[in-house]
Amino acid sequence: MKYEVNCERISSTLIPYLDGRASADDQRAVEAHASICPACRQRIEEYRCLSGVLDELPIIEQSAAFNARLRERIAAEPRPGWFAWLMPSPRLAFALAMLLALSVWMGKVQPPADTAVATSQSEQDFHVIKDLGVLENYDVLKGFDALSELPVAAQEQQSQTPQDQQQKDGQI
C-alpha cells in the first residue's frame, strides 16, 4: 500500500523527471522511490529505452518538386494593393462604416415636439421679417382698405390733427 501511493506520485512526475524538468523536490522523490521500488525502477529504465526506440522512426525528406510547387503557389498569391494602405485594419473600416451609418440614422430621426413648436415660431418670425418692407411702406399702409373699416372712435384716436397730417405730407 505504501508503494502504491508513491508509485502513483511517480506517475504524475515521471515524464518531467525523464525530461530533466522536474522540480528538485520531485526529482529527489522519484529517485528515492526508485531506490526502494524495483517495479518503478524497471519502469524508468523501460521509458529510457522507449525513447531510443522511438528515435528509430526515419526522417523523410521532401520531394524535389515540393519547393518549386510551393514557390509557384506563393507567387500566385494576391499581393496587397495601394488601397491596402488606406485600409490598414478591418476594425478601422468597420468603425468608420458604423459611424457613417449612425450619422445617416441620426439625420433621419424626427425631432421632438418642443423642437417643432420652436420651428413654427421661427417660421412666423420669418414671415414678419419678410413682410417688414411692406409694413414700413407708408404709401401701402395709407391705401390699405382694412384701415377704413375700423370703428370711428378708433379712427379718431389713430388719426391726427390736419396740421400734423399736412406736416407729414410735406415731409413725404
Partner: protein, 208 residues
C-alpha cells in the same frame, strides 16, 4: 546572428518574401515529418505541408507576434492533419457500409494487435511496429507525443497547440507513453514480453 521566427514573419508581413523563404527552410522538414507521422503517407503529408505554409503566408498581413511562431505553425499543421484523418476515416466508413457482407465478415476476422505484432516481429520490421504503436494512440495523445518527442516543444507550447492546461498535458503524455511502453514491450524489454531491451536510438528527438 540568426533572425528569430517572429522577426522573419514580421519581415514577410512587410513584403520581404526572402524572409518567408528562410522560415520555409527552417520548418519544411519538421512540418512534413510531423504530418507524415500522423497521416502515414508522404504525398498526403507534402500536400498538407503546402497547405500549412500557404495558410501562414496568407495570414502574414494580420500576423501579430502574440504567441510563439512554432505554436501557431504546428497548431495549423495538427488541425489540418487530424481533419484529413477524420475525412479519410469517414470515407472508409462509407465504403465499408457499401461493401458486400462477405467483405465485412472477412474484416471481422482480422487478427488481434498482438498477433500482428508477432507477425511484424517475425518480419523484423521494427519501424512498422513503432508506427503501428503511435497510430494506436488517440489523436490528442498522438499529437502530444509527436510534438514532445520529435519537435522537442516545451509543455506550455504543446498545451497551447492542443488547447489544454499544462497539468492535463502532462497527464496526457504519461498515458500516451505508458501505452507505447506496453505496445512496444517487445522492443523495450518490458514485462509484457521476454524480448531483451533494445536501444538503438539515432540521437534525434528528446529523451523521455
Amino acid at each position: 546572428m540568426a533572425r528569430s521566427d517572429v522577426q522573419l514573419m514580421l519581415e514577410t508581413k512587410a513584403g520581404d518574401d526572402s524572409s518567408f523563404e528562410l522560415l520555409l527552410q527552417r520548418y519544411r522538414t519538421p512540418v512534413i515529418n510531423f504530418l507524415f507521422r500522423i497521416v502515414r503517407d508522404s504525398a498526403t503529408a507534402e500536400d498538407l505541408a503546402q497547405e500549412v505554409f500557404i495558410r501562414v503566408y496568407r495570414a502574414r498581413e494580420s500576423y501579430a507576434p502574440s504567441a510563439k511562431f512554432t505554436t501557431w505553425l504546428f497548431r495549423i499543421a495538427s488541425n489540418l492533419a487530424l481533419n484529413r484523418l477524420r475525412d479519410s476515416r469517414h470515407q472508409q466508413m462509407e465504403v465499408s457500409l457499401d461493401a458486400p457482407a462477405g467483405e465485412e465478415d472477412s474484416a471481422m476476422e482480422l487478427p488481434a494487435r498482438e498477433l500482428r505484432v508477432d507477425q511484424m516481429m517475425v518480419e523484423r520490421d521494427r519501424v512498422k511496429l513503432i508506427r503501428c504503436a503511435i497510430d494506436s494512440l488517440p489523436e490528442k495523445q498522438r499529437v502530444a507525443v509527436l510534438l514532445h518527442k520529435y519537435e522537442e516543444m516545451d509543455y506550455v507550447e504543446i498545451a497551447k497547440v492542443l488547447d489544454c492546461t499544462e497539468a492535463a498535458l502532462k497527464s496526457l503524455l504519461f498515458r500516451a507513453y505508458e501505452t507505447l511502453r506496453v505496445q512496444l514491450a517487445p522492443l523495450v524489454g518490458g514485462a509484457e514480453s521476454p524480448a531483451p531491451a533494445v536501444s538503438v536510438g539515432t540521437g534525434r528527438g528528446r529523451a523521455i
